[in-house]
């Protein structure tokens, strides 16, 4: 079996063994969204105005929640250091792990956002724009939070630190996505901004695994 197939088989089995890691962020997202009308106002015109932005932020937080420990258990079990002995560049293996993580932990989040949109009576065209921004922006967000997770591997209880370190990289993605949502509400052209977000994700998916692998090596070198 090739190393890639072995990696994929392992990630699938790990995802199946830890269903909570998939469902907890989904619960979190639905919980935040269902609290908004209670805390703010049940006025559907108001909710429709701010709903898409609320969903975007809640999805971002849910994503951070399930990515902050991306490499933690492999690191503390000592399996991560065994990756270095496989006959493949570490950055390539990290890239595979990030892709699988996005498929199994982030795509389910995106899939339930239409329900969240209905709960906040977000108009259909804005909802479609919201889904498009999430699909093209979350690969970049996953990469950045994975980098935060890798940088802080060595320190215990590091979750929030990794998020803080990566905050400056999240900001441009959030601003671009907000731009898309505002334009969608106005009914103006959104594709240029979506393309820009997609470019952001592509660059992140190409470069971040290299940075993550450097961070992992650094932390493995400092541990016993």
């Amino acid at each position: 079996m090739s190393i890639e197939k072995r990696m994929l088989a392992r990630e699938l089995k790990l995802a199946a063994a830890r269903p909570g890691d998939i469902f907890k962020p989904m619960w979190f997202l639905m919980l935040v969204i269902s609290m908004v009308p209670l805390a703010l106002s049940p006025d559907s015109a108001l909710l429709a105005d701010i709903g898409s932005a609320m969903i975007w932020v809640a999805t971002l937080l849910a994503l951070l929640l399930n990515t902050e420990h991306l490499f933690q258990s492999d690191f503390s079990d000592g399996v991560l250091e065994q990756w270095l002995f496989l006959d493949r560049p570490l950055a390539w293996l990290v890239g595979l792990k990030l892709i699988v993580h996005w498929l199994f932990h982030v795509v389910p989040l995106i899939c339930i956002t239409p329900i969240a949109g209905l709960m906040l009576s977000v108009p259909t065209d804005v909802l479609i724009a919201l889904l498009m921004t999430l699909v093209v922006a979350t690969p970049a967000l996953t990469c950045f939070s994975g980098l935060g997770a890798a940088l802080t591997l060595g320190s215990s209880r590091s979750g929030i630190l990794g998020v803080l370190v990566m905050m400056p990289l999240f900001v441009p993605v959030v601003i671009l996505a907000a731009g898309v949502l505002i334009r969608a509400t106005d009914g103006s052209e959104i594709l240029p901004l979506i393309a820009l977000l997609g470019a952001f994700s592509l660059v992140a998916a190409t470069l971040v695994p290299i940075a993550v692998s450097a961070a992992i090596r650094l932390n493995i070198g400092g541990s016993n």
């Binding site: 258990s73 250091e81 002995f85 016993n224």
Partner: protein, 202 residues
């Protein structure tokens, strides 16, 4: 399986960690058939030395080569088992080994029988006892094609039968032209090894 002759050269390696000098100008060479036990008191740098040779800890001073080539090019010839569990708790014994070794089910199952884990292949690692978990990690030695074995405290948590089984396996490995480095505080009786004593730096 007989390995190609392999040589491991450590020359003038020094290590300082957290402002403490662990060892200085350490030089030795190992070749096919050698077994080296790295000994020394706790904190003498045994694990650090093994991790350096395995390429997991950066060599700050000195050179380590395998067959005159830098370590990073020959990594797949090294099998390193550290004192972390080396296996994922949430996966079954067999899935862990299939991932780590790349071998198919029959070979991995045979390795599990050899280490006394017959009937445990579908158990999750977190359901095993400490010693069984260790056996699971060591089962990789039974399906390894790497000539250089680096074992950090391989005897920890093992019962007497398994200690003997492991000694036999190490002997068989070096007889095939492999080489083995390990650390332990209880020198094994049935192995013919050299000892490198660390912790003599003032």
């Amino acid at each position: 399986m007989i390995f190609e002759p392999v040589s491991l050269n450590i020359s003038q390696v020094s290590c300082e960690r957290d402002d403490r000098l662990l060892f200085q100008n350490l030089s030795f060479a190992l070749s096919s058939g050698d077994i080296l036990r790295v000994a020394g008191p706790n904190g003498a740098g045994k694990t650090t030395l093994l991790r350096m040779i395995a390429g997991l800890f950066e060599v700050q001073d000195g050179v380590i080569t395998i067959d005159q080539e830098p370590l990073s090019d020959r990594r797949h010839q090294v099998l390193y088992i550290g004192h972390k569990p080396q296996v994922s708790r949430d996966l079954t014994v067999i899935d862990n080994l299939k991932f780590l070794t790349g071998f198919d089910e029959p070979i991995v199952k045979q390795a599990l029988i050899d280490v006394g884990l017959r009937g445990y292949h579908d158990s999750l690692v977190k359901e095993l006892s400490q010693g069984q978990g260790r056996r699971c990690a060591l089962a990789r030695l039974w399906c390894s094609e790497a000539p250089i074995w680096i074992l950090d405290e391989p005897y920890t948590a093992l019962d007497i039968t398994m200690v003997d089984t492991l000694d036999l396996k190490i002997n068989a490995h070096v007889a095939q032209g492999g080489l083995c480095l390990f650390t332990t505080h209880q020198p094994p009786q049935s192995l013919n090894f050299e000892t490198l004593e660390l912790g003599c730096v003032d």
